[in-house]
Amino acid sequence: MKIEGNELIISGVVASIDRDNIDTDQIIPTEYLKSIKKYGFEDYLFDGWRYLDDGKLGVLKGDRQQNPDFILNKVPFDKATILLTRDNFGCGSSREHAVWALRDFGIKAVIASSFGDIFYNNCFKNGVLPIRLSKDQIDNLFKAFDKGFTELTVSLDSKKISQNETELYSFEVEDNLLERIIYGLDDVDMTLKFKEKIMSFEQIRKKEKPWIFSNE
């Protein structure tokens, strides 16, 4: 994310994966969920497709047998900042590690026709922008990339995607979610501003539905 003129933009190489229903187990397999850290997942992104050998937490890219056919192993896509894919990206497991892996690799935006609900939420907590386009628009982007285009620019201000300074599509995303990405806002800090409200809600609930609190 950078400021160009007065505009906040994400721009760069787009890697495309032409599949529906890419689940979070593909984005990062369970083996790497054994980490107790929140960073350092870049080498495990799409592990099953990206490498030919079986991986282990702590064994990094340099010591792995890379699959030369996989897009993230090819120049210039190894430096991709935008991911283009199809329907229902990030379905399945709630693992936030999937977003951490995309973020750590350098992916700043994912463009798909739909997303798994939990994955979509997790994105905004980690500075990755999920962009929903129609199936036809996604189709057109895939066709454009088949013809050799490799880069896109996403404007966060105007919520528009462009290619070579030609505006292609606009997209929708809630402003408050977008602001969380732009300013890196922390939800806990924001919610604790409502501390009094939460406390009084809880007191009433305790009185009206004591069984909820019965193990206390």
Partner: protein
């Protein structure tokens, strides 16, 4: 205005509307396990915070734990050093903050979605969260239950609330009586096959109808558990006499608490006039036993149906199907009943409860696991399920038939513990996901009911249960 069950639960827990479409919801219960909690505890510590309401949280290790533990096993005995660190971390965090944990030595340890209900921590009408997508399981009790990410786990620990946007309402009505050999697992797999894995995206699915009313809590949990596989992070069923009976037998509530709770629980139903954004009606009497053939739960068919033929499908789906067939090692014109299986896994938060084990025991009693099956394991969902099964002699039936009887945990549902498939091994599994590599790198998973998995173990192949 008439309301759905989901609307009612939403309103009951609604604290305030935020600047956007988001609201702050009060969270009654949070379940924690070793995989998605360490970073949340770390975040809490960094902010100098402690859990908002300690007793709202219940923890247990399940994903990483080995299932061959025997007596007197301690966390220290976990051989995989990295897995051990994660389980130790849960012990440390629970001790540090004072969170109630059923640790690896406890008879109450088990898969978090199995122990919550059976220990009475899941009560109708609660909001329940866990850093695990199968939290939808608890919706079987008329709870607003959903899986969340680790940042949200931290948020709930710190504030007892969750920032969420309201979902749309979907109603799936299952009516009629199932054919013999058809279970709740078949019925939910059939639904996923019909609406696809994104069919429920953005929706809370309420399951209703005469079939739902007729089934046990265990069967209802199986259905709600897999609503996430249909894309819906929330699946729910209105509490009724079956629910109340289960809760009465499992909760620790005093009689007085229970009676006043019952009055409230009886109101947790969708109003007759309530409007759903999407409605689906399914006659369960038409459903046959379901088995997945591909790498997504929506790639499911009747056990004797033809696997989609590449020459006979729309171009849009061709690539997905081609990749799935390739991964699964399925040749053109091959049927599910032609495939030779290597392993059988009975377990997971979908199908490891006592009713599931009884069903398997009934099917394999006096029979033997086929010589062509290299390993067939039965993994009870919890210490209590294990005890109950042993008291009924089910463990003896399993072992006589050639199954291995294990200790509770997530086991072969996901490759985080020693129970894994080797590359290209084909597994009949009662779990919930047939994703590539889910049960081990290059492993091939076919999802099915406990009954179908039991019969596959005996025959080495998928067979007609009738």
């Amino acid at each position: 205005m008439p309301k759905t069950l989901y609307d009612k639960l939403w309103e009951e827990h609604h604290i305030t509307t935020l600047e956007s479409s988001e609201s702050l919801l009060y969270i009654d219960r949070q379940y924690l396990h070793e995989v998605t909690s360490p970073q949340a505890f770390e975040g809490l510590t960094k902010k100098g915070l402690t859990p908002w309401r300690l007793n709202a949280n219940i923890a247990t290790p399940d994903h990483n734990v080995p299932t061959e533990r025997g007596k007197s096993f301690q966390t220290e005995n976990i051989l995989d050093e990295i897995s051990k660190i994660q389980v130790v971390e849960l012990d440390k965090n629970c001790n540090k903050f004072g969170i109630k944990q059923f640790d690896i030595t406890s008879v109450n340890q088990g898969i978090v979605h199995v122990i919550g209900p059976e220990l009475g921590y899941t009560l109708p009408g609660m909001t329940i969260v866990c850093g695990d997508s199968h939290t939808s399981t608890h919706g079987a009790f008329g709870c607003l239950a959903m899986g969340i990410g680790t940042s949200e786990v931290e948020h709930v620990l710190a504030t007892q609330t969750l920032k969420v946007s309201k979902l749309k309402n979907m109603n799936v009505r299952f009516n009629g009586n199932p054919q013999s050999g058809v279970t709740s697992k078949d019925i939910v797999l059939y639904l996923i096959g019909k609406i696809g894995t994104s069919g429920g995206n953005g929706h809370a699915i309420e399951f209703s109808g005469s079939y739902i009313e007729s089934i046990s809590m265990e069967a209802r949990m199986t259905i709600c558990n897999m609503s996430i596989e249909a894309g819906a992070k929330v699946g729910l069923i209105a509490p009724d006499a079956t629910t109340i009976e289960y809760v009465k037998n499992h909760s620790q509530l005093s009689e007085e608490e229970f009676d006043s709770a019952c009055i409230h629980w009886s109101k947790l139903i969708s109003d007759t006039e309530a409007v759903f954004d999407k409605e689906i009606e399914i006659d369960v009497s038409l459903i046959k036993p379901q088995v997945t053939w591909g790498t997504s739960p929506e790639m499911v068919i009747d056990f004797d149906e033809d696997i989609p033929d590449l020459n006979n499908i729309e171009a849009e789906n061709k690539r997905n199907i081609e990749l799935a067939k390739q991964y699964m090692g399925i040749e053109e014109n091959q049927k599910l009943t032609d495939l030779k299986f290597d392993k059988v896994f009975i377990g997971s938060c979908t199908n490891s409860r006592i009713e599931d084990l009884r069903e398997v025991a009934k099917a394999v009693d006096g029979k033997s696991v086929s010589d062509t099956i290299v390993e067939a394991i039965v993994v009870p969902g919890s210490g209590l399920v294990k005890e109950q099964a042993e008291s009924e002699g089910l463990d003896i039936i399993f072992q006589k038939a050639g199954f291995i009887w294990r200790d509770p945990g997530c086991s072969m549902c996901l490759g985080m513990n020693p129970d894994q498939l080797k590359p290209y091994e084909r597994c009949a599994s009662t779990s919930n996901r047939n994703f590539e590599g889910r049960q081990g790198n290059l492993g091939r998973t076919h999802l099915m009911s406990p009954l179908m998995a039991a019969l596959t173990a005996v025959n080495g192949r998928v067979v007609d249960p009738s």
